[in-house]
C-alpha cells in the first residue's frame, strides 16, 4: 500500500529532454574542427531524432488517454430493474413479504423514516419513504406511503398523508448489462453528488485540484520531502487527474516509466477537458471495492454497495468512509477490516474539520458513529443470472450488444423479487432434501414462474445453485415432456364434440407404424382400466386411453397445435408417440404451452421485459400485453376444471398435503421413460409455474413427476398467497350432477356423483334418478 504513491524520481525530464540544443556547438579549426563539427551534427541529429520520437510518443499516449477517457465517460452499462411493487387497498399482503420486497429494493429499516429509501414496519403498520423514480408513465417523486395491514390484507393506504387507493414503490435494481468481466458502474452528473463528498474528496486527495494543470508540483515536493524525512514511502502526491488516468488503465504497476506516462496523460487530459468534466468522471470511475469478479466503481455504486442507500442519502461519516476507501479498497475494506476502516474514516473526519468542511464539534460527533456498513452488499451485480440471461436474450431482438452495454438504458423487467427468492430456495433446499430423503444424487432443475394473464416472467431458476451462471436449464435444457402433453390431447377431443364424461377404452393398444413396427404403450401401473370417462383417464394419466383417444384424430392436430405455439418445427412429421409427450421442450416452452390454458385460451408471449427507457427516462420500447385467441379456447375451461381434479384426486393428490392447505390448483405431473425426467406444472388464476427435475447427463434418475418436481413446486408456493381457481367462474360452463360410474346426469347430492361442467349445447343426454338418494338422506 505504502509504495503506491511513491513520487516519480525523474519526473522533470519531460520538457528539458524534448528540446534539442543544436546551436550550442561552436566551430573549431581544421580536421579536428571538422570532426568536431560532424560529431556535433551527429549529436544534434540524434538529439533531434530522440526529441522527435519523444514528441511522437507524447502525442500518441495523449491521444490514447483522451480516447479512453471519452469512452469511459459515455460507456454506461444498462441498468435493470425488477417490477415495481404496486400497493392497493384490499391487496393481499403479509408483513413478512412486504419486508422482503423492501429489503430487495435496498430500503433501510429505521424507527422513523426521515429520508427517501427508509421504512419502518411495526406490527400491522408500515411507513415507506419512496425514492424518486422515472417510470414509463412519468417521473414519480419521492413519497411517504403509510399502510395498515389487517388479516394479511392492506386495509388502509395513505400517500403523503392523503388517503389513497393506490401507491407504487420504486423498483429494486437487480443488475446491469455490462461486458462480460466488465466493471460495475453507475454514472451520475457531478451535481447529483452531495457537496460534502465533492469538496471532501478534493480536500483529501488533491487540495490544489482547482489550480494545477494535472500535476501538483507542490504536493509532489511535499510528499517527496515527507517520504525522505520519515524514511518510508507514505505520501503519494498524485493528483485526481493522475489517479483518474491510473483508473482508466486499471494498473497498479508503479515503475517510473509508467509514472512518467501517467503524468503526461494527466497533463493531456487537463488540456483537453474542464475541471468539471474530469472531476465528474473521477467520481464515477474511482475504484472502491470488489463484488464477485467485478470492480465496484464510482461513489454512486459504492454507496449502494456498502450502505444500501443512494449516494444522495449518505451522512457525513459515511461520506468520510467512502473517501477513506479511495486510498486502498481492499486494505480499508470495511467489511473485512472494520477497525482499520474506522480509523481511516476518523482521520478523514479530522481532515474535514481541519479544512473547515465540518465544524470541530460535528466531526467529533460523527466520530462516535459506528461504520454502519450493511453486512451483505446492498446490491449484488451477479444476482439472478438465469433471469438476466432471459432479459438479455429478449433485448437482443431489438438492441445490439453495444447499445445494451454502453448507452445506459434503463430496463424495466417483470422480476418479482419475492417469487424469485422462493423459487431459488425451493431449487436449492428442495433438491437437497429430496436427495437426502430418497438417496438420489446429481439432480438438477429448471424452473419458471409467470403471470399467465400478462405473460410476465416473475421468476426463473436455471441451476440448483441459483447464483451460478452458465447452463440455463430453464431456457436450454430441452427434455421429453411425457404426460405433460396429455391435457392437449384431451383438449382437441373436447373441442371436437366430446365432453368430460364421454367414455374411452383403456384396453391395451397397438398402433402400427409406417415403418411396419407396432407401438404398444402401456399404462404406468401396467393394468387396463376398461371403459372410463375422459375425466378419469386424464386425471389418472392413463397412457392406453390417451393413445386410443388421440388416435381417433391422429397425431397431426396435436402437432398443428404445437406448431401454432412455435414449439414444433414446421416440417416435423408427427409420430404417434407425440400423444404421450415424445417431444423435447424446455421449462420455458412448457410454460408457454400452459399459459394458453391458464389464461382461458388467450395466448400471450412470455416476456421478461416491460419497458426500455433511455438514460434520460424517455420510453424507447414498450412490450405491451398482446392477446391472441387460441382456436380451441371454448374447451379450455373444461381442461382447467379437469386439472384441478388432478390435484384433488388424480396423480397430484398429495399436493394439498405438501402445501399444507386446501386448494384449487390446476396441475399436471409428467414422468418420462426410465424415470429420467420429472415435470410438474401447476397454475392458479394469477400464477403459472413449471418445474423440471432431472440429471444433466439424461440418465435414469428414478424420479417421477409426483415424487420430485411436485414437492419442489409445493415448496415454492407454500408461503406465497395465490388466487386459487374459482371453477364456478370459469367462462362458458354449465354444471350438472353426474354419476361417476356411468357418466349419466343424476340428482343433486347423489352419492357417487359429483358436479361436472359441460359446454352449453354439449351436455350428456342420459339421465337417471339417484338410486340411493333416499337411503343416504
Amino acid at each position: 500500500m505504502a509504495t503506491k504513491r511513491r513520487p516519480p524520481a525523474r519526473a522533470k525530464r519531460t520538457r528539458a529532454d524534448s528540446r534539442p540544443n543544436s546551436r550550442s556547438a561552436k566551430p573549431g579549426s581544421a580536421a579536428p574542427a571538422r570532426w568536431r563539427l560532424w560529431s556535433l551534427r551527429l549529436l544534434a541529429g540524434l538529439l533531434g531524432l530522440s526529441a522527435g520520437a519523444g514528441a511522437i510518443w507524447i502525442y500518441s499516449i495523449s491521444t490514447q488517454v483522451i480516447v479512453h477517457f471519452e469512452q469511459r465517460r459515455w460507456d454506461v452499462p444498462s441498468r435493470v430493474y425488477a417490477r415495481p411493487l404496486t400497493l392497493y387497498t384490499g391487496m393481499s399482503l403479509r408483513g413478512g413479504l412486504l419486508k422482503d420486497e423492501l429489503e430487495a429494493a435496498g430500503y433501510q429499516s429505521v424507527a422513523e423514516p426521515s429520508q427517501a429509501g427508509q421504512y419502518s414496519l411495526q406490527g400491522s403498520r408500515a411507513v415507506i419513504y419512496t425514492r424518486t423514480f422515472a417510470f414509463a408513465d412519468g417521473i414519480q417523486p419521492a413519497q411517504v406511503i403509510g399502510l395498515r395491514l389487517q388479516d394479511d390484507r392492506i386495509s388502509g393506504l395513505q400517500v403523503n398523508g392523503q388517503d389513497s387507493s393506490l401507491a407504487r414503490l420504486d423498483p429494486a435494481e437487480i443488475g446491469s448489462l455490462h461486458t462480460l468481466g466488465g466493471d460495475d458502474r453507475k454514472v451520475l452528473p457531478l451535481e447529483a453528488f452531495p457537496p460534502l463528498l465533492v469538496t471532501g474528496v478534493q480536500a483529501v486527495e488533491d487540495r490544489h485540484f482547482k489550480h494545477h494543470h494535472g500535476i501538483d508540483w507542490r504536493g509532489l515536493t511535499r510528499a517527496m520531502w515527507r517520504n525522505l524525512s520519515s524514511g518510508s514511502l507514505r505520501q503519494g502526491g498524485s493528483t485526481i487527474t493522475q489517479q483518474m488516468v491510473r483508473n482508466l488503465y486499471l494498473t497498479n504497476n508503479r515503475n517510473l516509466w509508467r509514472k512518467f506516462n501517467e503524468m503526461v496523460m494527466a497533463v493531456a487530459l487537463e488540456r483537453r477537458y474542464s475541471k468539471h468534466e474530469i472531476l465528474e468522471t473521477y467520481m464515477n470511475e474511482v475504484y472502491l471495492g470488489q463484488t464477485g469478479g467485478r470492480g465496484v466503481h464510482g461513489f454512486a455504486r459504492a454507496s449502494e454497495f456498502y450502505f444500501g442507500v443512494p449516494v444522495q442519502n449518505l451522512q457525513a461519516h459515511q461520506i468520510a468512509l467512502l473517501i477513506g476507501i479511495v486510498r486502498g479498497a481492499s486494505w480499508y475494506n470495511p467489511r473485512r477490516h472494520g477497525e482499520r476502516a474506522l480509523q481511516r474514516r476518523n482521520t478523514i473526519l479530522d481532515s474535514f474539520a481541519a479544512t473547515g468542511l465540518l465544524s470541530a464539534s460535528a466531526a467529533r460527533q460523527w466520530r462516535t458513529q459506528p461504520l454502519s456498513v450493511r453486512t451483505s452488499p446492498g446490491y449484488i451485480s451477479s444476482r439472478y443470472p438465469a433471469f438476466m440471461d432471459l432479459v438479455r436474450r429478449q433485448l437482443r431482438e431489438q438492441y445490439n450488444e453495444d447499445e445494451l452495454q454502453r448507452t445506459g438504458l434503463r430496463i424495466m423487467t417483470t422480476l418479482e423479487p419475492v417469487a424469485q427468492r422462493q423459487a431459488e430456495q425451493a431449487a436449492s433446499q428442495g433438491l437437497a432434501r429430496l436427495e437426502q430423503g430418497r438417496g438420489w444424487s446429481g439432480l438438477q432443475t429448471g424452473m419458471i414462474v409467470a403471470d399467465p394473464n400478462t405473460g410476465d416472467v416473475l421468476a426463473l431458476v436455471g441451476d440448483r445453485d441459483p447464483n451460478r451462471a452458465g447452463f440455463n436449464r430453464a431456457l436450454d435444457a430441452r427434455r421429453q415432456i411425457g404426460s405433460i402433453i396429455k391435457p392437449f390431447v384431451y383438449l382437441l377431443a373436447l373441442a371436437n364434440g366430446q365432453h368430460l364424461m364421454s367414455l374411452v377404452s383403456d384396453a391395451g393398444v397397438s398402433v402400427s407404424m409406417p415403418d411396419g413396427d407396432n407401438w404398444q404403450p402401456r399404462n404406468y401401473d401396467l393394468r387396463n382400466h376398461g371403459e372410463v370417462p375422459l375425466l378419469t383417464a386424464l386425471i389418472q394419466s392413463y397412457n392406453q386411453a390417451t393413445v386410443r383417444l388421440g388416435m381417433r384424430l391422429g397425431p397431426e392436430p396435436l402437432a398443428a397445435l404445437l406448431r401454432q405455439l412455435e414449439l414444433l418445427p414446421e416440417n416435423a412429421v408427427p409420430h404417434p408417440a407425440l400423444l404421450l409427450g415424445a417431444v423435447e421442450l424446455s421449462p420455458l416452452e412448457v410454460a408457454s404451452l400452459y399459459q394458453v390454458l391458464a389464461a382461458d385460451g388467450y395466448r400471450t408471449r412470455l416476456s421478461a421485459v416491460r419497458d426500455v427507457l433511455d438514460s434520460g427516462g424517455r420510453a424507447l420500447t414498450r412490450y405491451p400485453v398482446q392477446l391472441n385467441v387460441f382456436p380451441q379456447r371454448e374447451a379450455i375451461p373444461l381442461i382447467t376444471f379437469a386439472l384441478t381434479d388432478v390435484s384433488r384426486r388424480g396423480t397430484a393428490w398429495r399436493l394439498g398435503q405438501l402445501l399444507g392447505r386446501q386448494h384449487v390448483i390446476a396441475a399436471k405431473t409428467g414422468t418420462t421413460n426410465d424415470q429420467r425426467d420429472s415435470w410438474f406444472v401447476g397454475y392458479t388464476e394469477d400464477r403459472l409455474a413449471v418445474v423440471w427435475v432431472g440429471r444433466d447427463d439424461n440418465q435414469p434418475a428414478g424420479i417421477t413427476g409426483a415424487t420430485a418436481a411436485m414437492p419442489v413446486w409445493a415448496e415454492m408456493f407454500r408461503d406465497i398467497p395465490v388466487n386459487d381457481i374459482d371453477v364456478y367462474r370459469l367462462p362458458g360452463l354449465n354444471w350438472y350432477w353426474v354419476d361417476w360410474q356411468s357418466g349419466w346426469v343424476t340428482e343433486p347430492d347423489c352419492p357417487g356423483a359429483g358436479l361436472v361442467p359441460f359446454r352449453q349445447g354439449n351436455e350428456p343426454q342420459q339421465w337417471r334418478p339417484c338410486p340411493n338418494l333416499g337411503a343416504s338422506n
Partner: protein, 183 residues
C-alpha cells in the same frame, strides 16, 4: 386534408362532446401527419368511440348495467386512463390500463376499456381480442355486452371481415334481450 377530416369529425358531434373529442382526435391526426413511414391508404372513416361504441351501448344495454365490484386501485388507474384519453394521449392511457391489468387481469370492464383504446390506436386485432376476453369473463348482458360486440363488429369491419362484423352487430343488439349463448 387532415384539417378537413378533423372538421368533419367535429361537425358530427354534439356540442357537449365537442371539446373532448376534438382534443382526443387532433393529436392522433397530427401523429399520422408526422409519420415518416411509407404512405398507407387512408381509411375511409375513422372510429368515433363515443358515437359508435359507448353511447349506443347505453341504449342497447337497455339500462342494464352489470358492474362487478371493481378493485379501488383499478378504478383509480382507469380514471387516470380516461383522463389521458380525454387529453388525447392514448399511449399514456394504455400504460395506465396495463398497470390496472396487472392488478386485476380478469376485470371485464377493464378489458373492454383496453379494447376501446386499442381500437382508437388502430390496433384492430388486439381490440377484437380484448373485447372478446372481456365478453368471456363479463356479464354477457347489458351495456358492457353491447360495448363488447360493437367493438368486435367495428374491428372485424376494419379487418375486412364484413360478415363477421354484421354478425357481431346483431349480437350487440341482442345484449338487452336475453342472456345469449356462451361463445
Amino acid at each position: 386534408m387532415i384539417n378537413e377530416q378533423a372538421a368533419n369529425i367535429v361537425m358530427k358531434l354534439s356540442l357537449t362532446k365537442l371539446c373532448r373529442v376534438s382534443l382526443a382526435t387532433l393529436p392522433l391526426l397530427l401523429l399520422l401527419a408526422c409519420s415518416t413511414q411509407a404512405p398507407v391508404p387512408i381509411q375511409e372513416r375513422s372510429v368515433d368511440i363515443e358515437q359508435e361504441i359507448r353511447q349506443p351501448a347505453v341504449v342497447e344495454g337497455a339500462g342494464l348495467q352489470v358492474r362487478p365490484l371493481q378493485n379501488p386501485g383499478v378504478r383509480e388507474l382507469v380514471s387516470q386512463a380516461e383522463q389521458a384519453e380525454q387529453n388525447g394521449d392514448l399511449n399514456q392511457a394504455s400504460i395506465f390500463l396495463e398497470r390496472a391489468l396487472r392488478i386485476q387481469p380478469r376485470d371485464p370492464e377493464l378489458l373492454q376499456s383496453i379494447a376501446e383504446i386499442k381500437l382508437q390506436q388502430e390496433s384492430y386485432e388486439q381490440a377484437l381480442n380484448y373485447a372478446s376476453r372481456s365478453y368471456d369473463v363479463g356479464p354477457k348482458v347489458g351495456e358492457l355486452c353491447s360495448r363488447n360486440w360493437r367493438t368486435i363488429s367495428v374491428s372485424r369491419e376494419f379487418l375486412d371481415d364484413y360478415a363477421g362484423s354484421e354478425e357481431a352487430r346483431q349480437r350487440a343488439a341482442g345484449c338487452a334481450l336475453r342472456k345469449p349463448e356462451t361463445f
